[in-house]
């Protein structure tokens, strides 16, 4: 086996193997566990670096393994998968550091980090999946690996949320599986190929293809939290903060959104999807979700819950971008995959810091927190402003391209209002938080001050991750035109998709 055929497997193994070993570590082996985690994350960064370079220079990285006649496990690095893999890799590294600090004294750490690594491995597998069959496998594995993370605290509330999560995701998984098998039966192994291949099927299959598309979108929509399939997401925020961060930014919701992108671009082909009249349907679902999520976020006092509804709304920008025919809309949707990730993870890190340092869980308790924890609050502010779409932060870029794409595709009539309404709502639920944090007088005492202010405002392992990701969010906006920036990469993907 040469290096090109092993690289995808290595990328997968760099988190899978440490994860499996960690399960069998003794609870007290703190250092060994940390070492394994960081070594795995570091190795993955290097391997993915090689992969980015290679894919840019038209290298083919492909691992194949036959599971059954006609069913192959294919790991394949193309431009889109590399984008998602890089995002997961970078954010995994940061989140691991954060989680080590966050769970410093809590029990069951071997179990937690074991499943944490499995969760990331499943995401990587999903990103690298070279056909729909492989995608389904990792999609289900992701469900399995995430359940223990949500149930981790073992409280009745956590178990209840985990059950709800399972009900949604396994149900969605079953629908996705049904669609995938059906498609496999009429179209053979569905390798992900830019532009898709289904348009070559004869016309009599179009009815079935529409039904299959619906099944696939329902299956993927559960994880992507499309309304009305979003019910699990606000519940799942009982999980520990690093898990929420990972779930909302990289792993679960992103897996769903990524799946939608894959199916539309690389299975059906965006032109063919549009011809079947399915793009508009997807666009409407996305638009409803965007507005609905923003409205719900307005009324949440619990900070994590407000962020969760914000996720519901923001992730659908990706689906919206997919639904806009034309390269510019595509760029907007795909680049938001990355931008939303780094911004949302910052917000969750910061929310975790407030809870862990001062016991703050609700927006109403945040008065003056900016004075006590300036760095965290600054990171939070950058990410929140980015979400609203204030230049020069990353979120502005996404929204700009989405709007431009809609105009170009002649869909401005309804896409622009959606963008404007949602931005106004974004502002309405984020700006009051920022106002309270910076300009209100703090209450005489914090709800529960766990970590006293010493050299830093909180523990180092908690502080640096949000600062770094906020910096990334800013950089992604400021240096959007630089080579290898998310925007440039999304542009590359769009070029290959539309064969420009």
């Amino acid at each position: 086996m040469n290096f090109d055929a092993t690289l995808p497997l290595l990328v997968l193994a760099s988190s899978l193997l440490p994860g499996l070993v960690i399960f069998f570590l003794r609870e007290e082996s703190h250092r060994l566990r940390t070492l394994l985690n960081l070594a795995g994350a570091g190795a993955k960064v290097i391997l993915v670096g090689i992969m980015i370079w290679g894919v840019f220079h038209q290298h083919t990285y492909l691992t194949r393994w036959t599971l059954a006649p006609g069913l192959e496990l294919v790991l394949h690095a193309d431009t889109l998968s590399v984008l998602f893999v890089s995002l997961s890799t970078v954010l995994w590294l940061v989140t691991t550091v954060y989680a080590i600090g966050y769970l410093e004294k809590s029990p069951h750490r071997s179990r937690f980090f074991g499943f944490f690594s499995l969760c990331v491995s499943a995401t990587i597998g999903l990103a690298l999946a070279g056909n729909l069959f492989t995608f389904v496998i990792f999609y289900e594995l992701l469900t399995l690996a995430t359940y223990p993370l949500i149930a981790h605290r073992g409280t009745p509330e956590a178990l209840r949320s985990a059950r709800i999560y399972l009900r949604y995701t396994l149900g969605g998984g079953a629908v996705l599986l049904t669609g995938a098998v059906w498609l496999h039966v009429i179209a053979g192994p569905n390798a992900f190929i830019e532009g898709g291949v289904l348009s070559q099927l004869p016309d009599e299959y179009h009815g079935q293809l529409k039904a299959i598309f619906l099944l696939l979108m329902i299956g993927l929509g559960v994880k992507a939290a499309l309304v009305p399939l979003h019910g699990w997401l606000p519940e799942a925020m009982v999980a520990p903060a690093p898990v929420s961060a990972l779930l909302h930014a990289v792993a679960v919701v992103k897996a769903g959104a990524f799946g939608i992108v894959r199916v539309v671009y690389d299975v059906y082909g965006v032109q063919f999807t549009s011809e079947l009249g399915l793009l508009a349907m997807l666009g409407v679902a996305a638009a409803i979700t965007i507005v609905y999520g923003s409205f719900k976020a307005l009324s949440q006092d619990n900070l994590k819950k407000r962020l969760a509804y914000s996720t519901v709304s923001q992730v659908s920008y990706i689906a919206l971008g997919t639904a806009i025919l034309g390269p510019i809309g595509t760029i907007g949707g795909i680049v938001h995959l990355v931008h939303q990730g780094i911004m949302k993870i910052t917000l969750f890190f910061a929310a975790g810091n407030y809870a862990e340092t001062l016991g703050i869980h609700n927006v109403s308790e945040m008065n003056g927190v900016g004075q006590r924890m300036p760095a965290t609050t600054l990171a939070f502010s950058i990410a929140a402003l980015g979400m609203i779409g204030i230049p020069p932060i990353a979120g502005f870029i996404s929204k700009w391209y989405l709007g431009l794409g809609a105009v170009e595709a002649g869909m401005a009539g309804w896409v622009l209002p959606v963008l404007i309404i949602s931005s106004v709502l974004n502002a309405a639920y984020f700006l009051p938080v920022l106002y309270r944090a910076w300009f209100c007088r703090p209450a005489p005492a914090w709800p529960a001050e766990h970590i006293p202010a010493a050299r830093y405002e909180t523990a180092g392992a908690l502080l640096w991750p949000p600062v770094i990701t906020a910096g990334l969010a800013l950089a992604a906006g400021l240096f959007a035109a630089a080579p290898y920036s998310p925007l440039e990469w999304a542009d590359l993907i769009a070029q290959r998709e539309y064969q420009l």
Partner: protein, 478 residues
């Protein structure tokens, strides 16, 4: 190489004799026998993959006058599964029964059961199959009642009576066949049989007997009490292997010997019964309060999936499409065997540690035994049919076959059954999370925990990720 066939039968039988004659050394003898018999099974698997089907004429008499043993890909795979499950359960049983006297009484019966399983899978003669069925039935009943608890003896007695009824139906079919075709040899019969009243009456009788033994809904009622009240290693083998070999025989008759007779309506009937088994079995598993009953009801449901394949296979054109789907059936059966055995072994550990198997009171025990709980989770993955288990590949083929032949009902049933399975499995797994004290090591009691862990890992990772050879074997040994 053909001698491996007779060794597979003679070895466990000789082991049974040896454990009886040397009761003090019975445990080491049994373990050596188990390892040796597993090695022979492995050899056979290798031989079939290299040379195709093998046969052995006992006493040197040609099949017909004498009895022939035959092994093709299907039987070689099932023999290998039998060996793995029996080997792991043997290791487990060595510590499960704490009294030496109990072990000395256990091993001979255990090895005779193994003998009967192997003999059934290898037999190429209808009357000989009847005898192996009886040997299987009696040894299974004797083991199910082992220990003599009231509930176990009661369930075993019912099991015995129904088993006998099944055997008699089977024998009635055999006598019709001999009356009509003057032969008992399966290979000769395959060539001679024609779609006519004698053949299909015989097939109906034999099938009725076998359906009773394989506990297909609505003939399943004896299974849950018998499987749930036996001791853990016995439950493992009853659920994983004993019902499975009766199913094997059905497959052999319907898809091989009498393949020309099978009509879509007959296969559809089996499908409907299988669908009912899936829904009813899963529903009962979801409602039950006890872990062992849950596992037993899940067996009823899982057997249902195997029967869904009958109408699907029949509707597919003979050739690669049907062969691929058939491989799905086999891999589903293999996965279930390994996973269910592992599940019962793991439940046995929990039951011994906590003194009960009530699902709602599992918290502490489940968390003190992480490796065992992990084994249950792996078994659960296989029972639900999630990737990367072998069952996922099997269900994929089932769904694909159903789509290809336009049989929508089976798709709905498969999906619904999988979701119900997820519900009953996670009902158990929820108890693994909590803030009970946590052990320092993941594997706390090695000799008891490893067998379950290995079996379930094989079911999930082994068959799921390295399952492709199953199809090759079925092809080369056809």
């Amino acid at each position: 190489m053909a001698e491996t066939l007779i060794w597979l039968i003679a070895m466990p039988m000789a082991g049974a004799v040896a454990t009886l004659l040397l009761p003090r050394q019975s445990t080491p003898i049994a373990c050596v026998t188990a390892v040796a018999a597993s090695l022979v099974a492995g050899t056979l698997l290798y031989a079939v993959s290299e040379q195709g089907s093998l046969s052995y004429e006992i006493g040197g008499w040609s099949a017909g006058l004498g009895i022939a043993l035959r092994a093709d890909g299907l039987s070689a795979l099932l023999l290998m599964m039998t060996a793995l499950v029996m080997l792991a359960s043997s290791v487990y049983a060595g510590t499960y029964f704490t009294k030496a006297a109990a072990r000395a009484r256990f091993w001979p019966l255990w090895l005779l059961l193994w003998t009967s399983l192997n003999a059934l899978l290898l037999s190429g003669d209808l009357f000989n199959l009847y005898v192996t069925l009886e040997l299987l039935g009696l040894s299974a009943v004797a083991l199910a009642s082992f220990g003599g608890k009231f509930a176990a003896v009661q369930a075993a007695l019912r099991y015995l009576l129904l088993g006998l009824l099944g055997s008699m139906m089977f024998l009635a079919g055999v006598s019709l066949i001999y009356a009509g075709y003057g032969t008992l040899d399966l290979a000769t019969l395959t060539l001679a049989v024609e779609p006519e009243p004698v053949a299909w009456t015989a097939l109906a009788l034999m099938s009725a007997g076998l359906l009773l033994k394989t506990a297909l809904f609505p003939l399943h009622f004896w299974l849950p009490p018998a499987h749930a009240s036996a001791s853990a290693p016995v439950s493992a083998v009853l659920s994983a292997l004993v019902v499975k070999v009766a199913f094997y025989l059905l497959v052999r008759l319907w898809m091989d010997v009498f393949a020309d007779l099978v009509t879509p309506a007959a296969a559809g009937l089996l499908g409907v019964m299988g669908a009912a088994a899936i829904l009813w079995g899963s529903w009962q598993a979801l409602r039950t309060e006890r872990l062992k009953l849950l596992a037993a009801w899940s067996t009823v449901a899982q057997l249902g999936y195997l029967f869904l394949f009958f109408p699907v296979l029949l509707a597919l054109p003979p050739g690669p499409a049907r062969d691929t789907a058939f491989g799905g059936l086999v891999i589903l059966a293999l996965t279930h065997g390994l996973a269910k055995a592992g599940l019962f072994l793991a439940i046995g550990i929990i039951q011994q540690r906590s003194g009960h198997d009530r699902i709602n009171e599992l918290n502490g025990t489940a968390q003190r035994l992480p490796a065992t709980t992990f084994a249950i989770a792996l078994a659960g993955v296989a029972l639900i049919g999630l990737p990367p288990s072998g069952a996922f590949l099997g269900k994929w083929q089932l769904l694909a076959g159903s789509f290809a032949s336009g049989q929508w009902l089976w798709i709905l049933v498969t999906i619904a059954g999988s979701l119900l399975a997820a519900a009953y499995i996670f009902r158990v797994l929820g108890h693994a999370f909590g803030n009970q004290s946590y052990p320092r090591h993941s594997v706390t009691i090695a000799r008891e925990e490893w067998p379950a862990l290995i079996l379930t890992t094989l079911a999930v990772a082994g068959l799921g990720l390295a399952g492709a050879p199953v199809w090759n074997l079925l092809e080369s040994g056809a």
